[in-house]
Amino acid sequence: MKLERYSRSARRLHTAVYLLTLFLLATGWWLLVGREGEPSPVARLLGLPDAALHVWVGWGLAIAALLPLVLARRGVAAFMRETLRRDPGDLGWLLRWPLAIVTGRFARHEGHFDPGQRIANVAIVGLLVALIASGIGLVLVHFGPVFVVLAAVHRLATFAFTVVIAGHILVAAGILPGYRGAWRSMHLGGRVRIDQRLKRRPGDREASSR
C-alpha cells in the first residue's frame, strides 16, 4: 500500500524552498570562503556578481516563505500545531532513535511528525526566519553598527543552518537503512510505500493508483 504523506501544494512549496535555499547556500559559502570578486560558474554564466545573485535569490526565498502565510493559512496552522505538539512517548522515541536509524525499528509516536522531525522543523524554520530577517536587514541597512550585528547573525545562522540541512538531507535522502525510501514523500508524486520502516501516521492519505 502507498500513502501520500504531503499534499501537492506542500511538496511544491518544499521544492521551491529547497532549490532557492541550496542556491543561496552555494553562493553564500562562495562569499564566506573569500571568493568575493571572483565570479562563480553561475555568476559567470548569468553575468552578475555573486553578491547580487545572492540578494536577488534571497528575495525570491523571502517571497516563497511568506506566500503560505497568505495563501495557505490552514496548512501553516496545521504544520505549526503538529510541529509544536508534545506527547508522553516523545522522549522514549528519541532514545531509541540512534538504533532505529540503522534497524528501522522506530518506537511508536503520536502525530503527523515523529519527535525527530519536530525538532528538525523547529530548527529549520527558526534558522530560515533568522536568515531571511537578517538578510532583508542587511539589504536595507547597507552599513554601520546595525549592519555588523545583522552580518554576524546571518553568518552564525548560515553555519548552523548548513549543519542542520546536511543532517536533513542525510535522513531524507534515504541513505540510512531506517529511512530508506523516505525521499519519496516529497518527490515523484509523494507516494511512500508502507512497510515496517515507514508507518502510517495521522494525516496520511491513501494514494490513488495513478
Partner: protein, 148 residues
C-alpha cells in the same frame, strides 16, 4: 492604564527605531557626500606587476564585518561586472596578471554589503611587465563622483 502603557511602549519603540535609523544612516564625519580617490599610482603611470594602489576616502575603509565601506577595483570592465579586486584597507597590492599595455581601472566605493555606494574614480596604468613599480609624473586621477 492599559492605553497609557501602550502609548509608552509605542514611544519607546519609536525612539529605538529612530536610534537604529540614525546609526544606520551615519555617513562621513563631516556629513557631506561620500568620496573616493586614488593617490597612487598616478593616472597614466607606468607600473609593473605587482603594484600598489592607494585609495583615499572621507569614510573609513574596512572589511564588511567592520560595518565600514570598502573599494572594488575593476580592471578593463564596468562596475556591474562580478570580476573585481577587493580593497579592505587604504593600500592594496595588485597581483593579477595584466597584459603589458594600457589598462583602465575603476575604483568604486562600496557599502559593506557590496552594493554601490555611489562615487567612483577611473584611472589608467601602463603595464610594462614584472619588476619594480614606477609611478612617473602625471596628474592624479579624476573622480566621476561628487566632491573630489
Amino acid at each position: 492604564m492599559v492605553l497609557a502603557g501602550l502609548k509608552l511602549r509605542g514611544w519607546a519603540l519609536g525612539a529605538a527605531l529612530s536610534m537604529i535609523l540614525a546609526a544606520c544612516t551615519s555617513g562621513p564625519s563631516g556629513g557631506g557626500a561620500l568620496t573616493v580617490g586614488v593617490s597612487s599610482p598616478k593616472d597614466g603611470a607606468q607600473v609593473s606587476i605587482p603594484f600598489s594602489v592607494t585609495v583615499t576616502s572621507n569614510v573609513a575603509i574596512g572589511p564588511p564585518e567592520s560595518g565600514n565601506h570598502h573599494v572594488h577595483l575593476y580592471f578593463d570592465v564596468g562596475k556591474d561586472s562580478g570580476d573585481y579586486q577587493l580593497v579592505y584597507s587604504n593600500t592594496v597590492q595588485v597581483t593579477r596578471q595584466l597584459t603589458p599595455g594600457k589598462h583602465t581601472i575603476i575604483a568604486s566605493l562600496r557599502n559593506p554589503d557590496h552594493s554601490d555606494a555611489g562615487p567612483s574614480v577611473t584611472f589608467t596604468v601602463n603595464v610594462t611587465g614584472s619588476g619594480s613599480e614606477s609611478g612617473s609624473a602625471a596628474p592624479s586621477p579624476t573622480s566621476s563622483g561628487p566632491n573630489y
